[in-house]
Assembly symmetry: C2
Homo-oligomer: 197 residues x 2
């Protein structure tokens, strides 16, 4: 085993064309949390279809301009990194794009994720500087599909609220949960060190 | 703002020589949690001295062989990524080195961190496959130095224990806390979107 000094996280090649096509087809763009969630869910579904990772998608949107600052999909199994969840990928790419680890410096910034954040991604939210989080599927939906979401504080939305981060739950929940369910029925890899390996 | 497709996390250039030198000077190597913690704390202190990030260091050790699988220091301010905490860097580099997102596949694997994990890194631990975690400084020590550690579940060690992950706290706590205290007295950047920017 050699000591390694660097790692890289890259979005899959299909993402660029997919997002461009989506924005062309959806002329109202990213103007509401619901429209933003449509893109996050579409990314989750496409990630499964393309075979590049788990059924999770996330985007970061600059709220004042409705511009897309970052895009993420789950890449854990594709690149062998357990922290490459959709939210971490989208937040990191937004930070690279904006040149700051504190996204809030640029005005209100929203993380829109096809599923409520797991314990790790919940913890990552305040460090990123986003000012609001919009979630589709719930922890229970991910667990019903076989995923382990980890242990968040019971009052996790209140914890974020107290840090000035607004949380909106259940936005297009049924559509988001359907992607998880279909993935689980298709017997995709459920990456869970404790149970499945 | 352009959409970005990739980001890279690289260890600072000084790390290789530093770790090589440390292993040469410490002939007992990484045979106990205490000796492993000495290296994690030394990395935290050197990271501050070299100006490459915050006062946090972590290593991943293959327990059966005492071999170093991964090394990490906090790189948040250096590379503008809020998730580049020492633990995430060390776990990710160990996963790249071993070719698996599930480190537990290779036998017992230990994360040794100069400070108790923050909320994000706590959540990242079960996904990584490590089988034990050894912590130096406590949340209270980091907070006393001005850092926000986030909200973990109250029973976070029990949560890890129930997933088969052993946690040992307060290993060389005083030495580890001193690095945090010295950093804070030196007025280094405390990166905390809510309070300091």
């Amino acid at each position: 085993m050699n000591l390694h000094h660097r790692f890289e996280i890259s979005l899959p090649h299909w993402i660029d064309e997919f997002v461009g096509h989506w924005l062309n087809q959806n002329r109202s763009g990213l103007d509401t949390p619901e429209h933003r969630m449509e893109l996050a869910i579409a990314l989750a579904a496409a990630n499964v279809e393309q075979g590049t990772g788990g059924p999770f998608g996330a985007i970061v949107v600059q709220e004042e301009t409705n511009r897309l600052a970052g895009v993420g999909v789950n890449l854990v199994t594709g690149i062998n990194l357990s922290s490459a969840h959709a939210e971490i990928v989208a937040l990191s790419l937004a930070q690279i794009a904006t040149g700051s680890w504190n996204l809030g410096k640029l005005g209100p910034m929203q993380l829109v994720t096809s599923c409520e954040p797991c314990a790790m991604c919940f913890g990552a939210v305040p460090w990123s500087g986003v000012t609001s989080v919009v979630c589709g599927a719930r922890k229970e939906d991910a667990e019903a599909a076989g995923f382990d979401e980890g242990d968040k504080p019971v009052n996790w939305t209140e914890s974020l609220h107290q840090r000035g981060i607004e949380v909106r739950l259940n936005v297009m929940r049924d559509e988001a949960a359907r992607v998880l369910q279909e993935y689980s029925e298709g017997a995709g890899t459920i990456y869970n060190p404790g149970k499945n390996i």
